[in-house]
């Protein structure tokens, strides 16, 4: 099976570059799984975890904060607004951010601009925590 050439880039750096067998991405209309020979597709992505699956290797987990994905038969390019590999995430900071966001949401009213911001922050930090924990669990297994 011919693998997929996968690139994950943000405006600041290239986060991942390499060959993978499968890409699981958080599309705006639900989770998307991309295998080789997929029909060409351009889609918007939302907050969530991006999983890159490789045969014989550990999965790569990346927390992304929205963006776009371009899919060709043999290549997947992801332009992410933000992207962090699981091992780069500071879990304590993410926890702190989540608590802060939750606090703000508890205080402000729904129509407040801060509420929306806090909600976005909450989703972002929750994703990051989830991704970071994945790595820890995966790393624990022999």
């Amino acid at each position: 099976m011919s693998p997929l050439r996968c690139e994950v880039v943000t405006a600041e750096r290239i986060v991942f570059q390499g060959e993978v067998d499968m890409v699981l991405a958080p599309g705006v209309q639900g989770q998307l799984g991309i295998l080789p020979h997929h029909a060409p597709l351009i889609t918007a992505l939302t907050y969530g975890e991006l999983i890159l699956r490789r045969a014989g290797q550990e999965d790569e987990y990346i927390a992304i904060g929205g963006g776009f994905m371009e899919v060709g038969p043999h290549q997947v390019t992801i332009l992410a607004d933000s992207a962090e590999r699981a091992e780069e995430i500071d879990i304590e900071r993410a926890e702190a951010a989540r608590r802060r966001a939750a606090e703000i949401m508890a205080q402000k009213r729904r129509e407040d601009a801060d509420f929306a911001r806090a909600e976005a922050a909450l989703r972002r930090s929750t994703t990051r925590i989830k991704v970071a924990k994945r790595k820890r669990k995966a790393g624990g297994k022999p």
């Binding site: 690139e7 943000t10 405006a11 600041e12 029909a39 060409p40 351009i42 918007a44 371009e70 332009l79």
Partner: protein
């Protein structure tokens, strides 16, 4: 001697200056390298985003209205300009060049210009020129991240969509190499995709790119994706412009500081020469005094002995 002491004091202070400027030169050099790396790091994303943007923009159905960020307005009433300068001085003619370039450009425009300044120097200069400043950003972190500059892009996008501005220009300094930085002004909004220009004409003759041949599926639909790509792209352009300007600033400062160090060293050589000459002069004078004194004494003694002999 007061003059040698004075010279010595000057030598000491010039030495200090040379040390400080050399240190600043080193700091600027390393900051420049980092800024350059940051600029390079944005390229892959920028290229992909540009490809995507051109592709999406060309997908527009004939009856569909053009995206507001792409649409050229027929009547232009007000223009906005993002002017990128530095917060601090001591960087040669860096700020002067870009500000003058922008000022010449503004004076030639027949429309009122609203300024969004990035960096204190540009704000102060434009304020002195009695220009309208609608927003001001300064004290950006030394290594800005995309998030640090998105508010700047937001201001112009919102202003443009609301119809406050009909064209938005961006003035910044292009980093060419360590010695050359060129002030540049270009149109930020409306975005002008390539397909509107030369590519469409040459399409039949040139082999099409992979992007142009393949029929894509869109999720949710091209318009929605375009809605998110365009603001992102504008943010990215502002980000890149700021990074380029930062690299330029640091290299301008590096060159300015190198010149300052060289000048200080030259001055130091001059002063040391003058000091040595003054010192030598003092010694000679002292010698002359001593010799003169002893000679006078000897003469005196000679006269006395001559008296006695008489």
């Amino acid at each position: 001697m007061s003059s040698t002491r004075e010279i010595r004091r000057r030598i000491r202070s010039v030495k200090n200056i040379a040390q400080v400027t050399r240190a600043m030169q080193m700091v600027a050099a390393s900051k420049m390298r980092r800024a350059q790396e940051q600029v390079l790091a944005t390229r892959p994303y920028a290229e992909k985003a540009w490809e995507l943007l051109n592709h999406l923009a060309s997908q527009r159905a004939a009856d569909e209205a053009m995206h507001p960020l792409l649409e050229m307005r027929t009547e232009i009433r007000t223009v906005a300009m993002v002017l990128i300068t530095s917060d601090r001085g001591l960087c040669g003619s860096y700020n002067h060049n870009i500000i003058h370039h922008a000022w010449r450009f503004i004076r030639e425009l027949p429309y009122p210009v609203h300024l969004i300044t990035v960096g204190k120097r540009g704000r102060e200069a434009m304020w002195r020129l009695r220009q309208t400043i609608v927003a001001e950003f300064s004290n950006l972190p030394p290594q800005p991240r995309l998030l640090d500059v998105t508010p700047i892009a937001q201001v112009v996008i919102e202003g443009f969509i609301a119809g406050q501005y009909d064209v938005v220009y961006l003035a910044h300094t292009d980093f060419i190499n360590t010695l050359i930085q060129r002030p540049a002004i270009w149109q930020l909004l409306p975005i002008r995709p390539l397909f509107l220009g030369a590519t469409q004409v040459s399409e039949q003759h040139q082999p099409r790119t992979e992007m142009a041949v393949t029929e894509y599926l869109y999720e949710p639909d091209p318009r929605t994706i375009l809605d998110t790509v365009l603001p992102r792209f504008t943010e990215l352009q502002v980000y890149q412009a700021i990074l380029e300007a930062l690299a330029s600033e640091h290299s301008a400062r590096m060159v300015a500081m190198r010149n300052a160090t060289e000048n200080a060293n030259e001055l130091l050589a001059d002063l040391t020469l003058t000091y040595n000459r003054a010192r030598q002069e003092a010694i000679t004078k002292e010698m002359l005094d001593i010799v003169g004194g002893s000679e006078a004494l000897a003469r005196l003694r000679g006269e006395r002995s001559a008296h006695r002999a008489m």
